[in-house]
Symmetry: D2
Subunit: 117 residues, 4 copies
């Protein structure tokens, strides 16, 4: 099964083959990431929360959401590669930080305590 | 080394311990993802492309960018978990699709050919 | 009552007094706009649709949402000023275009018909 | 010349004629706004800052950027209408607040002082 490192190499090769390194600054890639997240939002924006929970069962919407998630992942992986950041390590570090700020006792069932996780 | 599956389980446990499943609909998580990407953009918005390429060497900005990448990753992993999507597979599928739409010959060095990859 | 033109001049003066024109390229301002929209999303992300409809009545959230709307407006006005675009005219032109694509008959009560308006 | 109030009424009539009030919660409209800002970013993401400053002179990109600005404005105006917020007043209030936080003396030519304006 391919993992994030494999994906990172594949995306890097894809970009290099097309001589796109010149466009792939962190600034540009962050914009591209935001653009793809915008497309993801557009697929979900008019759904109720309940409809959104069933979106993958919809034969038309499901594949579109999956494709948008794929695009978001591609740009996030590419951005992390260019920045020299290990995505999983960065996320685990942030999660450890959040665990101290949002303790189970204080945050249980409280939406206003989950700004960052 | 922890991988995406490990991270997915850790984020899921983090949410369940705090009884946050009720807030974690795909719609809400997509909004949270967009919010975190917005924070990432805010760190890079006034930098030149060249400055952005060196951002990780900055003792103040580097850790902030890494933390934002961590937050984005957490929400993307959580969203994929809730949707039942394998992030790496979804990205590889999209990359294969992009390879047919943006052939090396047609896309080499052309920024206007890279809307989706 | 001040109008959009007055606001545009005030925002422009604010930027010029601080010698910020150098940072205010369309690219950078679009990123800043996206960052502010991200902050707006963060205020609404965990609310139910019904709660979001009452958000201005909340003594804590209401002023925060209003402040984020203010920030979004400031950057949109500034971006339009730098691009030489009249916001109201651009919106009316797009609305006229949408009226032909989403006729009342075809679009009534259909969320899937409202991707662009 | 139509102003923001006229635009607000036109957008409201457009939505009501199509019975779209049911979809136009603040939460949904904020997502739609973010989606449109994402499309705007996509038009600018691969441009250099210098190219972005000339984008309106491009016969293909210029009209596309103007259309995206139109879409962003439509959703911002609609969101403000639904929230009962006066856009110009909200922006002026925020600008007055920023003037005290970013004094001309402290902020002149300093990008790191302009997170919020």
């Amino acid at each position: 099964m391919p993992n994030v490192e494999d994906l990172t190499e594949r995306v890097r090769a894809f970009a290099h083959e097309r001589d796109w390194q010149q466009f792939h600054t962190p600034k540009n890639l962050a914009m591209a990431l935001a653009g793809e997240v915008g497309e993801l939002l557009a697929e979900l924006q008019w759904l109720t929360p309940e409809q959104s929970a069933q979106v993958m069962a919809d034969p038309e919407l499901g594949p579109r959401v999956r494709a948008e998630i794929g695009d978001v992942t591609i740009y996030l992986v590419r951005l992390a590669d260019v920045l020299g950041i290990d995505l999983v390590q960065a996320a685990l570090a942030k999660l450890a930080d959040s665990a101290t700020r949002y303790t189970v006792e204080a945050a249980r069932g409280r939406a206003d305590k989950i700004k960052d996780a």
